[in-house]
């Protein structure tokens, strides 16, 4: 009976750890955001990187808040997010080694073609938000501490609105990712702030379209950071740094620029831009 039990325990451990052994060779875990994942950028970039280096990049897509938490816990080797202030704090607190700017895309204000708030074509996004609030037009917020959510909150502030206090039933926080927010907006014919990348690959548009774009305040900067091996010694420093180095290299930057949906470029590489 004891020998049988021992054999069973070994077999059980084999089952559980089977996928694990192969994961030890040449792979890294990158915590990124759902909007980056949903845009399809990784599907385009990672095969190129793997062909060049043989490294498997395993992307775990979470909200920005959760991605940063994953990095703090040491459950990822690298972060690829778009929340500059939080990224800098991450490094300052000692959880990250160094922040590298990689690329930017922009947010767009999406809404129904019927446009009850009359914001189509506006160049000032703050004015557009004021109009939405004064009309009480339905607005979907991600409400999940993500980079997009924080950008949205900053825009309400820029419009002079304390959205936490001044929201009404027209303002709906769903606590989910970009795709879910767009789905909800499509079903409810509501306004929503989205990143252009997710919008371009989103298929369930219903009656929605881009109404406001191009305002400088809508630009969305992405950065990458290696999780600090001093805090988490198991972090794959060399492999992670290889990925970072490739992303900011001319080759990686070109690969980012080459990613297009319907002929439109989604992300604009700016690793060398000062102050990015």
């Amino acid at each position: 009976m004891k020998r049988l039990t021992r054999r069973l325990v070994i077999a059980a451990a084999a089952l559980v750890f089977a996928g694990h052994a192969s994961a030890q060779d040449k792979s890294i875990v990158v915590a990124s955001t759902t909007s980056t994942q949903d845009s399809g950028l990784f599907g385009h970039l990672l095969p190129i990187f793997k062909a060049k280096t043989g490294i498997d990049v395993k992307v775990v897509a979470q909200g920005t808040g959760q991605a940063l938490d994953t990095g703090r816990r040491g459950d990822a080797d690298m972060l690829f997010v778009h929340a500059k202030a939080q990224e800098e704090k991450f490094v300052a607190d000692g959880f990250g080694v160094k922040r590298y700017p990689v690329m930017y895309n922009d947010f767009v204000l999406i809404g129904p073609k019927s446009d009850p708030a009359g914001i189509k074509g506006m160049t000032d996004v703050a004015e557009a938000l004021k109009a939405i609030k004064s009309k009480g037009a339905p607005f979907i917020s991600r409400g999940d501490r993500s980079g997009t959510h924080i950008a949205e909150l900053d825009l309400w502030k820029a419009a002079g609105i304390d959205i936490g206090k001044e929201k009404g039933p027209w303002y709906k926080e769903i606590g989910q990712g970009m795709g879910a927010a767009l789905n909800t907006a499509s079903a409810a014919n509501a306004y929503v702030l989205a990143d252009r990348g997710t919008w371009l690959s989103f298929k369930n548009r219903g009656d929605l379209d881009i109404l406001v774009a191009g305002d400088k305040r809508l630009f969305n900067q992405y950065g990458v950071m290696l999780v600090n091996p001093e805090k988490h010694p198991h972090v794959k420093k060399a492999l992670g740094q290889a990925f970072i180095d490739w992303l900011v290299s001319p080759e990686g930057q070109k690969a980012i620029a080459d990613y297009k949906i319907n002929g439109q470029e989604l992300f604009f590489p700016n690793a060398n831009a000062p102050g990015a």
Partner: protein
Amino acid sequence: MPDDVTALQLVLSGDPALFAIVRLSLYVSLSAVVLAALIGIPLGAWIALTRFPGRQGVIVLLNALMGLPPVVVGLAVYLMLSRSGPLGGFGLLFTAGAMIIAQTVLVTPIIAALTRQTIEDLWIEYRDELTAMNLGPIGRVMTLIWDARFSLVTALLAGFGRAAAEVGAIIIVGGNIEGFTRTMTTAIALETSKGDLPLAVGLGLVLIAIVIAVNALAWTARRAGERLAG
């Protein structure tokens, strides 16, 4: 995965990415059922046959655990397996192994509780005879488990159904990583959130087909068994 091709075309053409997802789903859920059976069947049989203080409370708890919310299990396993958690040293988070662990936690109470019920019912029937034949505790347990095997298959099926259908636990501990921890249910969640509904529906149909097939297989096995043993 190609955008415009429908899921049915993917299935019929044997698209390797789709089948990799299906294979991983089956691997995770079947492994979990096997592990849950190895733990749950002996545990259920032991509770059925042993008198100990607090036994009724344990039975009530076991039945209640059948309804563990998957997402809560996912969170708990996530905290255990995180590098900052007690079992972080194994580096299991975001691997298929973590998903197997989470689903095993979900399925074991189901198998244990159903085993306990089945074995206890059968024991009431067999007790006099097995005692009169002077069988020791191991002999009794083996006899009961063997004679109850078809009902136990039903319990395993119920466990598999639970594992194959859930998404809350494995999406948290697996991370839904393409090519590594993306299963049918997590892929459906992803494709739905991307608005790619036809693909999500297609994957859903494949999943339902698998669940029906497994049930049909087990039903035939049970019928054959009943014909043999009455």
